[in-house]
Symmetry: C2
Subunit: 374 residues, 2 copies
């Protein structure tokens, strides 16, 4: 029990003790190995950037959620990164602007926000992600969903499910088939996101009501969405979703919630959220988006995902086991000890007569060159 202030950590920040940290290391390693095996090359980004850089590459990045402060060196506003995707977008638009497309990049690291949300008070999270830059095609979306599922499953997630959405659904429908006044669009989006039928009618979006029923297991929901789409303005999106579902359907349970918008502030035609059995909240999300270019340049299409595997790490920590520990008594032969490490032991060398192998977590003790059970 902490007896002074200095023992406390700020709200929403915490340590990982050995079991959790081991699980976290394994999740990161395994996920990165999967991403690398699909051709995603890792990049690393700084913890801090100019606030303006973090906000300017993608629509919908919210600087007010970031820790911000003035840089004593430049006297400009810095922000602690809250989302590595925006940084990778900057790299794609600058240092790797001339790298051939499609460009596959991956990353991981801690990100921080000034305030947790009601359900999750955490203000620091591990983010692991992959971005496929130069395309937002259906093939790109299918690869991104597949790789996200594979990375989570390899890291230990089971019962994975993926919920698809169409982030620009209201924009698309209101521009073509179901016109809305400019002032109504945001309200209709919100009511759909909140699944509020009454509010939807009140905000002038009665024509959008059937969308509230195109929700649930993928096959039936996409069927209802297609029936609703009498003018075929969603036809290419519906076909795209069906193609993606065909590719990944054997690997995860699929659902559709076409008007889900929360968390997809920067996604364009396609978005998805990924879950695993027994873990509360989502493990990540992704979709298609656009990287804003220089003045006068077209935005570049991209597709990617970000995983936030902290709940998986916590679940795995209970069973996480590092290497077995071998106690090395005082005066042991260092060559023999090195050989034991080479075959996978973690050795724990005695530093004094009082070091106790069992309380130090050792299962074996080195005797006459051999590991003897304690």
């Amino acid at each position: 029990m902490p007896d002074t202030d200095r023992d406390l950590l700020p709200e929403g920040l915490c340590d990982r003790l050995p079991q959790q940290a081991w699980a976290s290391q394994q999740v990161r390693r395994v996920a990165h190995d999967v991403l690398a095996s699909h051709g995603y090359e890792r990049v690393e980004t700084p913890l801090l950037e100019f606030e303006k850089s973090l906000a300017s590459r993608m629509a919908g990045v919210q600087v007010r959620r970031m820790f911000r402060f003035v840089d004593p060196a430049s006297l400009r506003q810095l922000a602690l990164r809250s989302d590595i995707t925006a940084q990778v977008a900057r790299i794609a638009a600058t240092g790797l602007a001339h790298a051939p497309r499609p460009l596959r990049l991956s990353y991981s690291g801690p990100v921080a926000i000034i305030k947790g949300d009601g359900l999750d008070p955490a203000r620091e999270r591990l983010q692991i992600g992959a971005e496929l830059i130069g395309t937002d095609s259906v093939a790109a979306a299918a690869e991104i969903v597949e790789v996200a599922i594979e990375a989570l499953q390899a890291a230990g997630a089971t019962g994975v499910s993926v919920d698809f959405t169409l982030p620009d659904l209201v924009d698309t429908l209101s521009a073509e088939a179901l016109p809305l006044a400019g002032s109504q669009i945001e309200a209709v989006r919100k009511m759909l996101d909140a699944k509020d039928a009454g509010g939807l009618v009140d905000s002038g979006g009665a024509a959008y009501l059937p969308l509230l029923y195109a929700v649930g297991p993928f096959d039936s929901a996409i069927q209802r969405l297609a029936e609703f789409d009498v003018d075929d303005v969603l036809a290419s999106r519906i076909a795209g979703l069906r193609e993606i579902a065909g590719r990944v359907g054997g690997k995860a349970r699929l659902t559709l919630d076409p008007s889900e918008r929360h968390g997809f502030e920067y996604q364009s035609w396609f978005g998805f959220t990924i879950y695993a059995e027994g873990l509360s909240g989502s493990l990540g999300r992704g979709g298609a988006y656009r990287i804003l270019g220089r003045a006068g340049e077209e935005p570049e299409p991209a597709t990617g995902f970000s995983l936030y595997p902290d709940p998986l790490v916590e679940a795995l920590a209970a069973e996480a086991e590092g290497p077995k520990r071998l106690f090395l008594p005082l005066g042991h032969d260092p060559q023999v000890a090195a050989r034991q490490r080479a075959i996978g032991w973690a050795t724990v060398a005695a530093l004094s007569e009082s070091d106790d192998p069992i309380s130090l977590g050792c299962s074996h003790r080195l005797e006459n060159g051999e590991a003897i059970p304690l």
Copy 2:
């Protein structure tokens, strides 16, 4: 060339592109594997803490070098971590206060400071470290130096050398054999650190002059230090250094600079700096220190090291090579592709007819289930 502000990164902060990031990943993995093999269990610490917590566990931690700002949640001052050692000390004193000693912990992650120094403008660095908590014995120091050398060598450093120092040398000598006025101690320390013979005499430390010559290759320098130590107040330290040197001498070139103080603000009797051939600046340092306990409690002795391997990462990046890349044409068999990944290929799937295997870095192409050179 950046054409707008948003393309720029703040001074002292940078990205790692794929080759650098690959090298960085390999250095971290290999170093952590070495630490784990010696029984050091990983912990993870938050990016941010209360300024007071970061500063209160160890003497000499300088909060003015940290990025600091008010936490909107607690309205208290937070700091971005500048040194993970202080956080691990907090864990040892709180969450792991009752874990058996000696307690071996390891960690890694980015740390940030508000201002680089003249030689190194970096404001963010990778820190990898190990702490052996509960002892600052000669045996602990020898293990810590050995593990630091092994971690760096396994990560690719060659021509490793270790420079030993005695951080509390002036305190020890002035308390016993060579008294100084309280006001002189800091000046004498500084002049010794600066190797300024004239300044040393001017500041009243003429008796300390011979220390300036007890510097250089370990064997001869320790001999001169022993000759200087006529009252034997350093005898246990000299014997300790000789014992450590005996253990690690075959693995690295050893030097002694007993009055070196810079960078050892929190070390007690023993400190070391570690270098590798061809890399400018040091790769890390370590030594014995004390973790400040609760009011009325004794400080706990500890020994550890911190590596800052960025120069090594940069040197390795030039030769770093990720897995070989195999191009998967449109319509490839996904099962065959998965088998190729399982045997070590990074696969790069075509997303459209225009994807070019060679510009995407592939050396081979999948044809009839086989990897064919391009």
